[in-house]
């Protein structure tokens, strides 16, 4: 349970949000990684020196600039088809940003309304939603995503659809359990006693109070989305071949690993750093927003 008074003290003013974000090294670390990723992703067309699919077969397998045989035109070297690894890495970042942001927004858009309504209304509707969630969760998510991709076909947007369909339960479950707690609070009773309708209570009283929790799940969902996309692309089930993605770069890099290991290492390390950053961010937010954890230290 989140202590709403304490949390809202932090989240309701701009200064409060800023002090929250800078109050812990974990949050700061995560935020910086997230911001750098988003910046690279959004500025990809201007940052990348080459077209990510431009092939220069005569210049294949170049190591990064500074190593023996490196070329100052290709700062991070080239892959088996002579494509600039830096450019592919930058465009891969924009794929990661796109997938994580869109998939998170869509999963939240499905999961949050379901969680709030089933937690607040209870009864048969709640029962139905929760059983659906149980059944859904009995499928291993990655297997479910692979199955969905084999039905939908590959492509960036299909990857997002697969993530959303496989992962909406995360939001529903967690938000519902928080709503179960909020609906018993006095201010909900007070709202009822001045004649608010269930819909008004859900929108005005309940929803704003799950925002802190939402921010924690959203960061975790972003990292899950990136992982799934990398995983699917690595397996050749993700984005189409002309879309540079870190997953497909890792898969490519593995095939010419002995000739130029950088082709695999760079996207691999980037993936690890980003996932780590997002998880640490979620962790830091939880420590700050959940008083049960702050009390124990």
């Amino acid at each position: 349970m989140l202590d709403l008074e304490q949390v809202n003290r932090r989240l309701t003013t701009a200064r409060g949000v800023f002090s929250l974000l800078t109050s812990s090294k974990k949050i700061l670390f995560g935020i910086i990684i997230l911001l750098v990723l988003i910046a690279i992703g959004l500025l990809a067309p201007w940052l990348s020196p080459f077209d990510p699919n431009e092939q220069t077969l005569g210049k294949a397998y170049l190591p990064p600039f500074g190593f023996n045989g490196g070329d100052s035109k290709y700062l991070l070297g080239t892959d088996s088809l002579g494509r600039d690894i830096l450019s592919r890495f930058i465009h891969g970042a924009s794929v990661a940003v796109y997938v994580s942001v869109v998939a998170t927004i869509l999963t939240a858009a499905i999961g949050v309304p379901l969680g709030v309504t089933s937690g607040y209304l209870r009864g048969k509707f709640d029962e139905a939603v929760m059983r659906a969630v149980d059944i859904w969760m009995s499928f291993p998510p990655v297997l479910l995503a692979i199955t969905l991709i084999s039905i939908l076909g590959t492509g960036l947007n299909n990857v997002i659809i697969a993530i959303v369909i496989a992962d909406w339960t995360r939001f529903t479950r967690v938000i519902r359990s928080e709503v179960l707690n909020i609906r018993e609070r006095d201010f909900v009773l007070a709202a009822k006693s001045i004649g608010f309708s269930p819909l008004q209570i859900m929108r005005h009283e309940v929803l704003p109070n799950v925002v802190p929790l939402l921010s924690i799940i959203a960061t975790l969902e972003m990292s899950v989305a990136i992982t799934v996309e990398v995983l699917l692309s690595y397996a050749g089930l993700g984005v189409k071949a002309d879309t540079p993605s870190w997953g497909s770069m890792i898969a490519d890099g593995l095939s010419y690993f002995r000739l130029n290991p950088w082709g695999m290492f760079i996207p691999l390390v980037a993936t690890i750093v980003v996932i780590l950053g997002l998880n640490i961010l979620g962790d830091g937010l939880r420590e700050k927003l959940d008083p049960r954890l702050t009390l124990t230290r």
Binding site: N8, K192, G195
Partner: protein, 271 residues
């Protein structure tokens, strides 16, 4: 004129084989303050909440009638009931700090109600809100309107809650231990405020408390509750002058007096 009459009200919680409120009868006159007094678990709060039909989810009204201006509230649809809540009957809760939504500024919470029930526009709501807060004795209402609940003290919050409760000129206010979470001085302020609001708006109040001294100060009549039943109901003065029921006597004697050494409180029937 009788505003509210509760007849043979019975409330039961699921899974229990006795009635938590067992055949309660009382009436509330117009502009009257009726006190519901009793120990914890006597059924005071449940009786109060049943008037708004806002029982906890495992509570059921199993018998009786609640007549408000002649209509039985228990026969109304949930939609009709919602129109009555806030506008004609409203409630003030025990803990003012948790009764306000922590996510919003005071003004947003207040104006919501004014918009819904009175159909006011933002600007009108603001003028009216300032007036309401001035009425409950809040200095610098414009400043308070911009604050969040956690930035206000308990007494301030309770005054805001009272302002909200009286905003639509309700005919009946169910105040469920509105002063329990407050210190004595603030209690006095809040009680006087409620008396003043009663004079001004001609509102009836059901004042639920376990504090007899407080009840004697504010209430016109007091009903003493025990184990789901009203054991004695009298005008305040008479009750204190000549308590009839032994339980009332015990309650009165349980209040310690300054200067008197009490080692052990008397139990009922062992006077």
């Amino acid at each position: 004129m009788v505003l509210l009459s509760v007849e043979d009200l019975k409330i039961r919680f699921l899974g229990q084989d006795y009635n938590a409120v067992d055949g309660v009868n009382f009436t509330v006159e117009e502009a009257e303050i009726l006190g519901l007094v009793g120990e914890s678990g006597a059924g005071k709060s449940i009786t109060g909440r049943s008037i708004l039909r806002l029982l906890p989810s495992n509570g059921r009204i199993v018998g009786g009638r609640i007549l408000f201006k002649g209509t039985d509230l228990l026969s109304l649809s949930e939609d009709d009931m919602r129109k009555i809540r806030g506008k004609e009957i409203t409630a003030i809760q025990q803990d003012p700090l948790s009764s306000l939504n922590p996510a919003f500024r005071i003004r947003d919470q207040m104006f919501d109600i004014l918009k819904i029930h009175l159909g006011l526009k933002w600007k009108e709501a603001k003028e009216y809100g300032v007036k309401l807060l001035e009425e409950v004795g809040i200095p610098a209402p414009e400043v308070v309107l911009r604050k969040f609940p956690h930035q206000l003290s308990g007494g301030m919050c309770q005054r805001v809650m009272i302002a909200i409760a009286f905003s639509c000129n309700p005919m009946l206010v169910v105040a469920d231990e509105p002063t329990t979470a407050l210190d004595v001085i603030t209690q006095a302020l809040v009680v006087n405020l409620m008396k003043r609001m009663r004079e001004k708006h001609k509102t009836s109040i059901i004042f639920i408390t376990h504090n007899l001294a407080l009840a004697s100060n504010i209430c016109d009549r007091i009903a003493v509750m025990k184990l789901g039943k009203i054991v004695e109901m009298k005008p305040t003065k008479e009750l204190f002058k000549a308590p009839e029921h032994p339980y009332t006597l015990t309650l009165l004697e349980a209040v310690p007096r300054v200067g008197q050494r009490v080692t052990r409180l008397k139990e009922e029937g062992k006077a």
